[in-house]
Symmetry: C2
Subunit: 117 residues, 2 copies
DNA sequence: CTATTATATACCCATATGGGAATATGTCAA
DNA sequence: TTGACATATTCCCATATGGGTATATAATAG
């Protein structure tokens, strides 16, 4: 076996800098393939390939508009990564514990003071 | 060029499931190589190889103890991933905007009420 | 229908991968 | 010193990669 396939999971898909770059651009809004080709310095076929990977792991969706294909970011697919990393966040952010308490506090208030919203 | 080297950045290092598994174990505390070999089902040389990658990107540190080498998690190395993903978090967590406001609020209080702490 | 534009796919290649097995290195014990 | 234990390194291999170039497919224009 070589490395795990990039299309297998989001972690691998996002490990490639070009693909993160594409996502960063799409975060700003829908783009056609040529738009992306213009914004990053990469040949069109390569952009298409990266988009394919991103599509396969659910990170982007496509919409046909005439002869263009408009790609749109689908952020929720990143949640697994976020969830995994978040478990380690306390390692570098000591304020998180305090925030935890605060959130619990607020949740309590929400339950008491606004019962029935 | 093939894929970017795993040792290049944290994103690639963490793209490998085995390495995430190792980190997950180390999150519980220091471990020797053999401890890790026992906990995940993988041959010792492979564990050593994965540890090497993790060391190279700063995700773990080593400490010699007799003939053992104790590996320890170094969480802050994950911060780049966290920071990158966090930018997209609003996509799936609508409550974040509210939290933003809240935090700003608190920061203001902190500046006014406790000036000089 | 043909040409042009937009995108995707197929092919080739150099390279890094992760697993496996064997072996080297390092450390302690007898 | 010799042997057992712990870990790292080296070698080989099958495979997936990402880039490049050429080409296929799709859609619109003329």
């Amino acid at each position: 076996m070589a490395r795990a396939a990039t299309t297998t999971d989001v972690f691998n898909a996002v490990a490639e800098p070009r693909r993160r770059q594409i996502l960063d651009i799409l975060a700003d809004g829908e783009r056609s393939v040529n738009d992306l080709v213009a914004e990053i310095d990469l040949a069109q076929p390569l952009v298409s390939k990266h988009l394919r990977v991103l599509r396969q792991v659910g990170l982007v969706s496509v919409r046909d508009e005439g002869r263009q294909r408009l790609y749109r970011l689908h952020g929720p697919a990143l949640k697994p990564i976020h969830d995994w990393v978040a478990r380690y966040q306390r390692t570098w952010n000591e304020r998180l514990d305090a925030l935890d308490e605060l959130l619990n506090e607020l949740q309590k208030e929400e339950h008491n003071g606004r019962t029935g919203e």
